[in-house]
Point group: C2
Chain length 237, copies 2
C-alpha cells in the first residue's frame, strides 16, 4: 500500500472536482456508500472528507450530506514582512525618534483611544544597499513589560516588537495596502521628489479580545517594493 487509504480516497474525489466531473453544488456520495465503494470503515472515509473540507473542496451539512463548495476565488495567501519583499531586503534600519505622544486624531480613532491617552511613537528609516527605501511609523499602546529599549525597537518587525510580551498566537493582524504620493515629511525623509509613488502598508495589531494595540504604517518607495500572494490550495500551509 503506497498512500494511506484516506489519502487515496481524498485524491480520487479531488480529481473528480478538479476535472469538472463533480461541480460546485453537487453532492458527494454519502459516507456509508463511500465505505461500501472503497471497502473501508466509516472513520477512514470521514478522515478523507474532513481533509477535503479543510482544503475548501467540500462542506458537510448534518442530516443532509456533503456538497462541493463554490471555490474561494477571492482569497489569497499574502506573504508580508516589513523587511523583505520581492524587490528588496532591508539590511539596515535607523531609529529616527521614539517618544510618548498624543496621537493624531486618525490614529486615536483607529486605536479606539480616549482623547487624552498617550502612546509610543516610533519613527524609523529602512535601508537596502545603503539606499533609503522606506519610512516607517509605529504607534504602540504602552503595556507593562513592553520593550522601550532602543536596541529592541530599532530592529525587527512590528509583530516581533510585541512578541516580547505577548504570544504571537494571541495577536490578530490587519493590513491595508495602497499607493500614495509622499507628503512633505516623507519626501524629505526619503529624499524623494514628491511625485514618486509610494506603496503604503498599514498594519493594525489586536489582542485576543480584538482590542487594537498598535498601528504601523510603512511607506515604501514604489520602485523598491513589490508584494507577493498566491492562491492557498490546501489551507494547511
Amino acid at each position: 500500500m503506497e498512500l494511506p487509504k484516506y489519502l487515496q480516497i481524498a485524491e480520487e474525489i479531488k480529481e473528480k472536482i478538479r476535472n469538472g466531473n463533480l461541480k460546485p453544488g453537487d453532492s458527494i456520495p454519502s459516507e456509508n456508500s463511500l465505505c461500501a465503494t472503497y471497502n473501508v470503515s466509516r472513520m477512514t472515509v470521514r478522515k478523507s472528507l474532513f481533509l477535503l473540507s479543510t482544503e475548501g473542496y467540500i462542506a458537510s451539512i448534518a442530516g443532509k450530506g456533503s456538497f462541493v463548495k463554490e471555490p474561494d476565488s477571492e482569497k489569497y495567501l499574502l506573504y508580508y514582512n516589513e523587511l523583505v519583499n520581492l524587490i528588496s531586503r532591508i539590511d539596515r534600519t535607523r531609529l529616527l525618534e521614539v517618544k510618548i505622544v498624543l496621537p493624531p486624531p486618525e490614529v486615536m480613532n483607529s486605536l479606539h483611544l480616549s482623547s487624552n491617552r498617550k502612546i509610543i511613537l516610533v519613527k524609523r528609516l529602512f535601508y537596502s544597499n545603503s539606499e533609503k527605501v522606506a519610512y516607517d511609523l509605529k504607534y504602540l499602546i504602552y503595556y507593562k513589560g513592553m520593550p522601550v529599549v532602543e536596541k529592541e525597537i530599532q530592529y525587527g518587525t512590528f509583530p516581533e516588537m510585541v512578541s516580547k510580551y505577548t504570544s504571537l498566537f494571541a495577536i490578530q493582524k490587519e493590513l491595508t495596502i495602497s499607493a500614495q504620493l509622499p507628503d512633505d515629511e516623507i519626501a524629505r525623509q526619503l529624499s524623494l521628489y514628491n511625485h514618486q509613488p509610494l506603496l503604503v502598508v498599514e498594519q493594525k495589531l489586536f489582542n485576543y479580545q480584538k482590542e487594537p494595540i498598535g498601528l504601523g504604517i510603512t511607506y515604501y518607495r514604489g520602485d523598491y517594493c513589490k508584494l507577493y500572494a498566491r492562491s492557498p490550495f490546501s489551507a494547511l500551509e
Copy 2:
C-alpha cells in the same frame, strides 16, 4: 455537555499556547497521557491535535511527539477581487479591444511561450460612479472552448473568464502588488496627470500542471483602490 470533548481539549491547549504557558518549541503531552488526563479515547485526542495542527498551533512528528510551532507571522489572508476593494466597487466596464497578438517579450517570457505563439489580448476600462478608476489588460492563452464572445469577456474577473472551460479548483493563481506611475497610454486611457500614483496588481494563472495560462495586469488609480488582508487564525476560512 456543551462543546464536544475534542473541541474542549483543543481549546484548553490553544489557551495555554496563547497565554504563553506553552511556547514555540515546547512539546505537547503525548497522546496517551492526554487520553488519561481527559479520560477520553485516543481518537478523540487525535482529533483535537489534528485541529491544532491545521490551525498552525502545533506540528506532530512520528516517533517523537507534538510540538508548538513558531507562528506564521508573515502569512496573511488577502481578499482580492478585481472589481471590488475597500474604496470602490466597479459598476461598469468598457471593452476597449480584443485581439490576437504576439505578446510583448516580458509577457512571452512570463507565460513561457514560444517566440511565435499568438495569444488573446483584452483591454478594458473599469468605472465606478461614472469615474474611470482602472485600466485592465489580460493576456490569455487560447484553448478550445474558450470564451471569445464579447459579452463573456467584458464583465467579470480573470478567474471568471477561465471558469467557463476549467474548474476553478484546478487553477492556481499568483499576484504581485506594486505602486507605479502611469505610462503615456495608461495616463491617456485614465485621463490622469502622469504623476498620479497607480496601484498595480499583476495576476498570473496556472493550470493544475503549473503551466501558465494567462496574465492580467490591472492599473488602479491610487485614490480608488485599497486592498485588505488579515491574519488567518484558523486556516479553515
